[in-house]
């Protein structure tokens, strides 16, 4: 088997990644793998949590959904660069989550197996989220009512949804 990248040297590095439930296999030669930064585990002394986390960021090659980002790009609020985050495994401020959203997505999936919050929502600043969650819940009820051919109830729920949606503005 030849390296998928240079298609010249034999592939000696085989990586398997799970992404969105799909298995992605990558076969590279050592030279190309090193260039891609695939050797996250070659130095045992780097086996610390920040280093592991840091290596989870950015190792998204071969995944078509993830565009390659410039490692020097910085968060407009705190000035942390993607490089800093990769080195420390820590984000700089709340805005980093928006600034590096794309790079974070696969990391969160790998750490948590998930990337969407379903837990507590703060009453303050979270009003909109609560309203949205309520609407989602109502829509489910609406479907159930329609499925049960309970059209009177469905109409009622539909009106409630309309009223609730107004709150979102």
């Amino acid at each position: 088997m030849y390296c998928e990248e240079c298609k010249q040297r034999p592939a000696t590095v085989h990586l398997t990644q799970m992404y969105n439930g799909k298995k992605v296999e990558i076969h590279l030669c050592e030279a190309c793998a090193a260039q891609k930064g695939a050797f996250m585990f070659d130095v045992a002394s780097n086996f610390s949590i920040p280093n592991l986390l840091g290596s989870l960021f950015g190792s998204n090659f071969n995944l078509p959904e993830v565009q390659t980002q410039l490692p020097g790009r910085v968060c407009p609020n705190c000035g942390m660069s993607l490089n800093d985050i990769m080195n420390t495994g820590r984000l700089g401020c709340s805005e980093c989550y928006t600034a590096f959203e794309k790079e974070l997505e696969p990391t969160l999936r790998r750490v948590h197996g998930n990337s969407e919050h379903v837990g507590k929502v703060p009453a303050r600043g979270g009003e909109k989220v609560m309203v949205k969650k309520k609407i989602e819940h109502l829509k489910q009820q609406l479907q159930q009512a329609v499925a049960a051919e309970n059209y009177e109830k469905a109409a009622e729920i539909r009106d409630t949804i309309k009223d609730t949606e107004k709150k979102l503005g």
Binding site: S94, V111, H117, K120, P122, K128
Partner: protein, 358 residues
């Protein structure tokens, strides 16, 4: 100073074993909620100026609080505590070793009198609201921590994102920002050699096992800290239910193996417990690891009724009292390792003698 107790005595609430369910195996339960202030840089990159601003914002919110538990707290900033006193808080499990290293005036803790509610300020996150109780009581811990969270949130803009939940410095905490953990004493499982198998299985369930002082610390005295790994995509209730469920299974297994030990290895077991007690009550020099291992055997002996009159509370207290900072605080001076070993042997002897007299 009300929180003085935490620095002048050994006692902290989670030691009160008789208040906690399943406290023969579950020493304590902890809930920690990580919260950050919107837009202010996370503590690791805070300079003194923004650090002060962060502390000030938190202090203001605290002064407006209405929850009695929160109002009664006391603020201890680290410029006002000695390194020894900060270490005592680590030894009581109330703060992380990393937090204790700082003597900055913008880092510190808000704590109540008995150390059951402690908020770390400007540790890895701006706020880490923690509740510690004896035995298996994760739900109650969450109820109390949540109350504090609800109150503070009325006056603070927490960093929160609709999709990601509560935003934290480390992406391993994002979402609920919640770490639930239980401190377990599992001597029978350890003796049986099943411990690695069990922990391997636990890891498959999104849980993790650590040593007695948290992340990166070794296992001593058969104490294991079990906590949730995943914080995103699960509700707080799910996390607590899962951890409580798994803990109950481990308790069952530990009890089963303890019974088996008592039936099949009665003499070996009584011999081991008796020897441990003998050494603890007569040794003159005792290092920390040896003491923890022997105290584990004695605790097992107490749980199985082989040793009478020693309480779980006394043993919980000893685990903290024999740590370096507590020993040095008691003597009132710095001591090298050898002199600490002498003092440690003394403290254990005294405590065991005191329980015998009662």
């Amino acid at each position: 100073m009300k929180a003085d107790n935490l620095l002048n005595s050994n006692f902290v609430r989670w030691m009160a074993a008789d208040e906690g369910p399943e406290s023969d195996i579950v020493i304590s339960s902890r809930i920690r909620l990580a919260r950050n202030l919107n837009l202010i840089p996370f503590p690791q990159i805070l300079d003194r100026e923004s650090g002060k601003k962060s502390l000030q914002t938190i202090e203001e919110a605290w002064s407006k609080s209405t929850t009695p538990d929160l109002k009664e707290m006391e603020l201890l900033t680290f410029d006002r505590l000695t390194a020894l006193e900060r270490k005592m808080l680590v030894e009581k499990h109330l703060i992380s070793p990393g937090h204790a290293e700082s003597d900055e005036s913008f880092r510190g803790v808000l704590t109540n009198q008995d150390g059951s509610l402690v908020i770390m300020i400007n540790e890895e996150d701006h706020l880490r609201i923690q509740c510690f109780l004896p035995g298996l009581q994760l739900e109650e811990c969450y109820r109390q921590a949540q109350q504090i969270d609800d109150d503070l949130e009325q006056h603070l803009n927490f960093a929160f994102d609709e999709r990601r939940g509560y935003l934290t410095s480390c992406p391993t905490n994002v979402g609920t920002g919640m770490r639930a953990s239980v401190m377990l004493h599992l001597p029978a499982i350890a003796i049986s050699g099943q411990i690695n198998q069990i922990f391997h299985n636990i890891a498959q369930l999104g849980m993790t096992v650590r040593g007695i002082y948290g992340e990166g610390t070794e296992v001593i005295g058969n104490f294991f800290q079990l906590s949730n790994q995943v914080t995103l995509g699960q509700t707080e209730e799910d996390i607590i239910n899962n951890l409580t469920g798994i803990t109950k299974r481990i308790i069952e297994q530990e009890r089963l193996l303890r019974e088996r030990l008592r039936e099949d290895m009665k003499y070996q077991l009584e011999d081991r417990v008796g020897r441990a007690y003998g050494i603890l009550s007569s040794a003159r020099v005792m290092n920390s690891n040896e003491a923890m291992a022997l105290l584990s055997d004695v605790r097992l002996g107490v749980d199985l009724g082989i040793l009478a009159k020693i309480t779980a509370f006394a043993l919980n207290e000893l685990v903290v009292a024999i740590r370096p900072a507590h020993l040095q605080k008691k003597v009132g001076k710095e001591m090298d390792a050898f002199h600490r070993d002498i003092e440690r042997a003394e403290v254990i002897k005294e405590r065991l003698a005191a329980t015998r007299e009662h």
